[in-house]
Each structure stands twice: as structure tokens, then as C-alpha cells.
């Protein structure tokens, strides 16, 4: 009973906030609706018994990706009149995309109601008594090890690429040398002098 209530609650909020993400005029509101959608999608995954994926969704998407989104969007000064003026120009493309999506949904529903594909034996049957962190870990580090490490390599390359693209060495500024700052002591910086009258201090 409570599962059913929770499911419909989460599902309704996901759909509504997804719609509001698109409708909202203010980009910051859009991102916030998107975050609400992520959060409730995580709730749905908990209901489906995938608590590990749910937590990762919140940590990665809500905690990191959406924060950076919000960061960028908050800094932008978006002219809404200009945005609205562009709508008619892209109306044809948007309409084509919408038609394609509707057609895909119709085909998918048709195929589903005609009966599912016979996939044969499941590659990774889920055992009820294994926590799903362990289940995912076992699969990732045995059967899918090479694909998993390949994905890691791709991410590494992407990261190096981003660093190379933004790296610039500037010779016109004096960077802070933290070690020198920390190691500097009062006796290196000051001198105690007792100058005779009329002679001053040698610097």
C-alpha cells in the first residue's frame, strides 16, 4: 500500500518537474526543477530496490553536476525577450524532433503490446540476498572488467584533454610560492638596527 502511494507520489513529481523544467521562463528555476526531478527519480529507484544507483544519482547528479549547472546559469545574464524571439526560427526543427519522438513512443508501445523479445537466459540474474553494491561490483570487476576499465580510460583522456585545452602558462604574473611564504620567518624579513645620528640605514 505505502509502496504504491510512494510510487505514484514520486512518479507524479518526476513528470511534473520534468514539464516545469521545460516550461520555466527563468533558467535558474529550470535547473531547480531538474534537480527535483533527479531527486524523485532517485526515490523511484529506491522503490525498485536499486538503492546504490539511487544514492549515486543523488551524489553525482544532484550533488555535483547540477551544482555546476546552477553555477553557470546563475552567472549568465539571459535576455528573455531575445530567447522568445528565437522560438519561431527553430519551430520547424523542434516540430520535427517532437514528431520523431511521438512516432518512437507509438512504435515502442506497439511493439510492447505485441509481446516482448525472447532474450533467452539473463546474463546477470539478480540474487535477492546479495546487496546490490556487491552484485554490481562483482559484475563490473569480472565479466565487464575490460569495458569498465576502458570507460575509465576514456574519462581519463577526456580529463587530460580538458586540462590541455585550458592550460596556459603566463609569464607576466608572479605566481605565489606557498612554500616560500610558509618558510618565511620574522628574522628573514626584519633587521634590528641602531644607526648613528646623521648616517641613516643601509638598505
Amino acid at each position: 500500500m505505502i509502496q504504491l502511494i510512494a510510487f505514484y507520489l514520486f512518479a507524479t513529481i518526476v513528470c511534473l518537474s520534468g514539464a516545469f523544467t521545460i516550461i520555466s521562463r527563468n533558467p535558474v528555476h529550470s535547473v531547480l526543477w531538474l534537480i527535483l526531478a533527479f531527486f524523485n527519480a532517485a526515490g523511484l529507484m529506491v522503490l525498485a530496490g536499486a538503492e546504490f544507483i539511487a544514492m549515486l544519482l543523488v551524489i553525482v547528479y544532484v550533488g555535483a553536476v547540477a551544482v555546476l549547472f546552477l553555477f553557470v546559469v546563475m552567472m549568465l545574464n539571459i535576455d528573455f525577450a531575445e530567447l522568445r524571439a528565437g522560438v519561431m526560427r527553430y519551430a520547424a526543427v523542434g516540430l520535427a524532433l517532437a514528431v520523431a519522438l511521438v512516432a518512437e513512443i507509438v512504435i515502442a508501445i506497439g511493439a510492447y503490446s505485441a509481446g516482448g523479445l525472447a532474450l533467452g537466459r539473463r546474463i546477470a540474474p539478480i540474487e535477492a540476498d546479495v546487496p546490490n553494491i556487491e552484485a554490481i561490483g562483482r559484475l563490473l570487476y569480472t565479466r565487464y572488467l575490460f569495458i569498465f576499465e576502458g570507460a575509465g580510460l576514456v574519462l581519463l583522456v577526456a580529463m587530460i584533454g580538458a586540462i590541455v585545452l585550458t592550460w596556459r602558462q603566463r609569464s607576466d604574473v608572479r605566481p605565489q610560492n606557498i612554500n616560500r611564504q610558509i618558510n618565511r620567518r620574522a628574522k628573514d624579513a626584519t633587521r634590528n638596527m641602531n644607526p648613528p645620528v646623521g648616517q641613516g640605514v643601509e638598505l
Binding site: 500500500m1 531547480l32 538503492e51 544514492m55 544532484v62 551544482v67 553555477f71 546563475m74 605565489q176
Partner: protein
Amino acid sequence: MTAFFQNTIGLPFGWAWFVATIVGILVIALPLMLAVAMIIYADRKIWAAMALRRGPNVVGPLGLLQSFADGLKVFLQETIIPSGANKTLFLIAPIITFTVALIVWAVVPWQAGVVLSNINVGLLYILAASSLGVYGIILAGWSSNSKYPFYSAIRAAAQMVSYEVSIGFVLIAVVLWAGTFNLGGIVEGQKAHIFGLINGYGFNPLLFPMAVVFFISSLAETQRAPFDLTEAESELVAGYQTEYSSMSFALYWLGEYANVLLMCALNATLFWGGYLPPIDWAPLYLVPGILWLFAKILFFFFVFSWVKATVPRYRYDQLMRLGWKIFLPLSLIFVFLVSGYLMWARVGFPA
């Protein structure tokens, strides 16, 4: 407690579970509010003592009722919402901060087996909830429609995201050792950890540096001094709280200290044995575990106050440098060392 409502009162299981959970939440949240009020008083007293002042000493005996007087004061104040502010978000932001500070307590084990929600992804739940905490601050900064709060929000977002990275690696080191994400399991894993005598991962030479990194990161995560750049009063007035007044301000205030207590509890639970006594010796187990946990929380809270009273505020570039260039590589290296050691000790090197 579910069994009590089911058998003694005769509710069906679903309702018994529901009522038991609500009661459990109240049993945790209400004393927590009281604890927050007293801990604010303690913070001010410790800080005053280190500055050779008396601190609050007028309201009630020894000033004990000071926090309640302050609470009453803000409760009676007018809630001012700036006319340029985004009203809805402006009001939601403190609620988010306060809620997030409370929900994490659901997975903190108070005694062996005494925990509101014994889930097997407890530690990930904590990370998820603490990553939500940043929204309370970003939203406050943006919706206030004012320069200082906005600067503060940007600082807060960068700071919290940066330090969560190293916290994540520190937690991985702990999880590797404990073999579980469940906080109760992590505490039990610390029993007789060193020489079969001392309880606590923090005494382990491979995990002690992680404990230190975690403690400093938790200072940064709760925006306490020396990492309180989000409300650096000499630069940003009061940071993201500048435009807040009355109860909306009080929610930030309570949420901030509830977060501090939570981080103290996490330090105690993850590294220093949680509800276990420090030494695995039978007579010490006669003291209820919850008292050991409270003692550890209070000790860490004292250290938090101590740091606040003695350490000057970091510059922003130093803060970022510490997070990305020191803690991140250090915690990565220790994840490597810990997993290597565990591989050697538990599995053995392949011949």
C-alpha cells in the same frame, strides 16, 4: 519499536511501522534541537574562555538559558523579505539547510543495533544528504538578489564541492577496511581493531592520516573557522545570511550547529569507535554505548570550538589549494595504500 506497536497495541504491520518511525524521528529530532541550543551556549562559553572573557552569564544560572532567550527573540522578530528577492526560493532555502541537517541523523547508530534506519548504503546516504546541503546556501545567495550573499553562495558552492571530493576518498578507505557501507557494521568492524585491544580505526597508522583529513574536511564542509569564508564578516557582511531575519535566520543558525554536531558524530563513528568504549575491556561495556558516543561527540565539538577560537581564517586560494592539491592527492594515495595492504593481508599476492 515496530513490534511493540504491532503486538501490544495491535496495529497492522504497515501502520505499526509508520507510527514507530514517526516516534523514532521525534525521539531523535527533539532532543537534538535541545542539544543544539546547549551546544551553541557551550561554543560561546569555550570561545569566551579562550579569549579570557566570561561569555553569556546573565540569562538563567551561569547563562544556561541564553540560547533559549535568543531563540525567543528571533521568534518574535518580524520576517523581512527584500522586495527584489525571489520570494519562494528565499523562504525554501533555510528550510532545505535545516532539513538536510536533520535527515542524516537517521543512519547514525546510537548503540549496538539502535538506529532509526538500518540501511546498507548508510554512508552513501550521508554523502548524498551532505551534497544536498549546498543548495540551501546557493539558493539563499541567489534568491536574496544582493551582491554579498551571491559572492558567498559562489564561495560556498566551490568550497563544499571541493571538499566533498576528498571526503569521498576518505570514506572509501574506511569502507575498504570495514567491508560495508552500513554505519553499524563500520562501528562493529572497529571492535578490538588494534592488537585486539583498542577500538577505533583512527588508531590504525594507515587510517590515522585519513581521520585527520576527514576532521579538517568536516570543518570546511560545515563552514566553520578557519574555513568560514562564506560568512567572512570583514568581506561579506554576513555572507548568504545577510538578508535573512527572524525565524528564517534561526533555521540557518540551528541547521549550522546541527550540521556541526553531525560532523562530530561522524568523526566519532567512522574513526574513533562510535558507541564502543576506547578499549576493548569488558567492564567498560557496562557504560551504555550512547554515553561513549556522546562523550566522543562532545570531545570533537570542543576541538571544533578550539580551532574556531585559535586559527585565523584561510585566504580563498589557500583553501582551494588545501582541498585540491593536498587533501585530494593525499587521500588518493592512502586509498591506494589501504587497498594494497588489505589485498596483501586478506587475499595474499598472487604467486
